[in-house]
């Protein structure tokens, strides 16, 4: 592995901007899917269980 090492990057000079980009995309996907699943798939489905109507 170390033979392919082109440079040594320390903690303070490493800015994980690629990670930030990836997890931001993940965050957006998760949020959109959650809203879709809850409000379309679940609440849009038939026969939702409600509290006993007194």
């Amino acid at each position: 592995m170390s033979s392919k090492l082109q440079r040594e990057i320390g903690h303070d000079e490493f800015d994980p901007k690629g990670t930030l980009a990836l997890i931001t995309i993940y965050f957006v996907i998760i949020s959109v899917l959650w809203i879709f699943m809850y409000f379309v798939e679940f609440l849009g489905n038939d026969l939702t269980v409600v509290g006993a109507i007194a």
Binding site: K17, L22, I23, W34, F42, V49
Partner: protein, 585 residues
């Protein structure tokens, strides 16, 4: 702390320990092979492509598939991995190898007993069976051998945990001022919550189910034993997952050519798992009558917060890979991804497992949601979910790292890295197809755990695509997964068959960018975290359990056993007990 380059492979360092780990791995791989075959047969049976056995016997396939893969394959592999982690990071052998072989033996005997009980279900001539599935909900009743085997297996795993603790205690007395090395820290925190959580299933099996299956007590409570099962049933998934997490933290950065981004946050993550894994089990019982909505809500809040350590892991692990990629010359926001060693099956398998886990995280979030459970509970969606978690995040990580561990344990080179690469890719593709179709089928109501999901009175209403298309995806996916397993086993066998070389890289694990010196000392206070974990468990479980026992009594309001086996032993036992009672009267 990373070991010097001169210390050789793991086999060179710890030949005795290497033998135990090898044996545990081989046990694990045998279970993988049989379990995968059962999986393939199940796919064909359910989809009505090929039904080799009557549908009544399908549930023995299913029990064997689940028990062999989630308990035997995963746990045998992980005790090996943790043994490697503790000995490597403390740089000392285990205290007493006879003790180590003892717990391995207990686990092996337990597995064989449970396995024999299950396999008996396939043969009319063998008067035993245990078609009770992996959850063995009473009053479904298995042969006593099944429960006894399970109990031995769990006790064996506890003794394994104690083995790692003994190493740490001995090391600590010689190194009183040192931080616990990260891999050991991970093994110890995992052991702690495993012991806390498996207490639930141990009580259920030893106090209720085993005596009941022997005819010593007449009835057990369906809801109480089920709740005790889930006391363990969610934490156990973290027991499988933590070794995979550990490998992502301490192995993946090294394979990527970088360092672990943050040792302190890794410790925080494992502490969170220690305290939150167990008080979440009731989320598997959102749709159970007999448990108040308030308890369900509290457990949901715990479960949702359990997302936090996984989300933090996603960041740390991806950042560690990015560090490797940039050291290898990667640039840009996404361009660095190309600089990663994708042709290395160890890396590719682990990275793809992590990617699948991100998807699993999403379906897990849905499963954690209390009322949305009405939509997905007991549908094939759930099966799709856990084939991404245990079936990929864990299984694919274990298979991929085998390509690293096996040379370390045998001093032999991997037989073929290209076959290994093909294997991990096939798993990824197969699981993508199968799991996607399972999730979508679940949303239209296709149930899990059934031999014949085809009913005569109605059709499933698929909004986009068709049922035939979904079934095709499952059939192709399942087949690819089976082929992938065969390739994996081939590589293992051919590697073990090969001859020793002395050009292997030394044993070791990733260094850190931000090391333990940056982690607050309190993180290493295992007593404190264990105490908090116990308090949280008591808070989450004392009232629900008291309420169940208060409503239904310790042994339930009634209900006869429903034996999923026919056995003279039990009737004999029952007769002996009856006549003994008669004599006393």
């Amino acid at each position: 702390m990373s070991l010097g380059a001169n210390s050789g492979t793991y086999l060179d360092q710890f030949p005795g320990e290497a033998k135990v780990i090898r044996t545990a791995f081989y046990s694990s791989f045998i279970a993988l092979g049989i379990g995968a075959l059962m999986g393939l047969l199940q796919v064909f049976h359910r989809l009505d492509i090929l039904r080799l056995i009557p549908s009544e016997d399908y549930y023995s396939y299913l029990t064997l598939h689940a028990v062999l893969l989630v308990l035997t394959f995963s746990i045998f592999f992980l005790v090996g991995v943790f043994t490697w982690a503790v000995t490597t990071s403390l740089d000392r052998g285990l205290e007493d190898l006879r003790y180590t072989w003892g717990w391995y033996g207990l686990m092996a005997v337990g597995t064989l007993m449970a396995g024999v009980a299950i396999i008996g279900g396939f043969f009319d001539s063998i008067p035993m069976s245990a078609a009770v599935l992996y959850t063995f909900y009473a009053p479904l009743q298995a042969h006593p051998l099944f429960y006894l085997g399970l109990a031995l297996f769990i006790v064996g795993s506890w003794l394994a945990g104690l083995d790692w603790f003994r190493s740490w205690w001995a090391w600590r007395s010689e190194n009183p001022d040192e931080r616990i090395p990260l891999p050991t820290f991970m093994a110890l925190t995992t052991t702690l919550f495993w012991i806390i959580s498996s207490m639930g299933v141990a009580i259920s099996v030893v106090v209720f189910l085993l005596p009941w299956s022997l005819g010593l007590i007449g009835q057990v409570d369906a809801l109480l034993t089920r709740t005790l099962f889930w006391f363990f049933g969610h934490a156990v998934v973290y027991f499988w997952l933590m070794p995979a997490y550990m490998l992502w933290y301490v192995m993946l950065p090294k394979i990527s050519g970088g360092k672990l981004f943050s040792d302190p946050l890794a410790r925080v993550v494992f502490v969170l798992f220690l305290i939150l894994s167990t008080p979440t089990g009731i989320h598997h019982q959102y749709l159970d009558p007999g448990i108040a909505e308030g308890f369900k809500f509290i457990v949901m809040v715990n479960t949702m917060f359990l997302l936090l350590p996984s989300l933090l892991t996603a960041f740390t692990v991806v950042a560690s890979m990015e560090h490797g990629a940039r050291q290898r010359g990667g640039t840009g926001y996404f361009g660095w991804l190309r600089a990663l060693p994708w042709r290395d099956p160890v890396f590719a398998g682990m990275a793809l497992a992590g990617l699948m886990f991100a998807a699993a995280g999403f379906s897990g979030m849905i499963n954690a949601g209390m009322n949305i459970n009405y939509l997905v509970h007991n549908t094939w969606w759930i099966v799709g979910h856990f084939h991404l978690t245990i079936g990929t995040a864990v299984a694919l990580t274990f298979m991929a790292t085998t390509y690293w561990f096996l040379p370390q344990l045998t001093n032999k080179e991997i037989w073929s890295k290209s076959v290994g690469l093909a294997q991990v890719l096939l798993w990824f593709v197969g699981m993508t197809l199968m799991s996607n179709a399972m999730h979508r089928s679940g949303l239209v109501g296709v149930p899990r755990r059934t031999a014949e999901p085809q009913y005569s009175g109605f059709d499933y209403e698929v909004a986009a695509g068709s049922m035939a298309e979904l079934n095709m995806q499952v059939a192709i996916g399942g087949t690819l997964l089976f082929i992938s397993t065969l390739l994996f086993l081939t590589v293992v066998v051919m590697t073990v068959w090969g001859s020793k070389v002395d050009t292997l890289p030394a044993n070791g694990y990733a260094e850190t960018l931000s090391g333990p010196e940056d982690a607050p000392l309190v993180l290493d206070n295992l007593k404190l975290w264990t105490a908090i974990a116990v308090v949280l468990v008591v808070l989450a479980y004392a009232l629900p359990l008291a309420s169940i026992i208060g409503r239904r009594g310790l042994f339930g309001p009634g209900g006869s056993p429903s034996p999923q086996f026919i056995d003279t032993l039990v009737f004999t036992g029952q007769a002996i007990v009856d006549s003994a009672v008669g004599v006393i009267r």
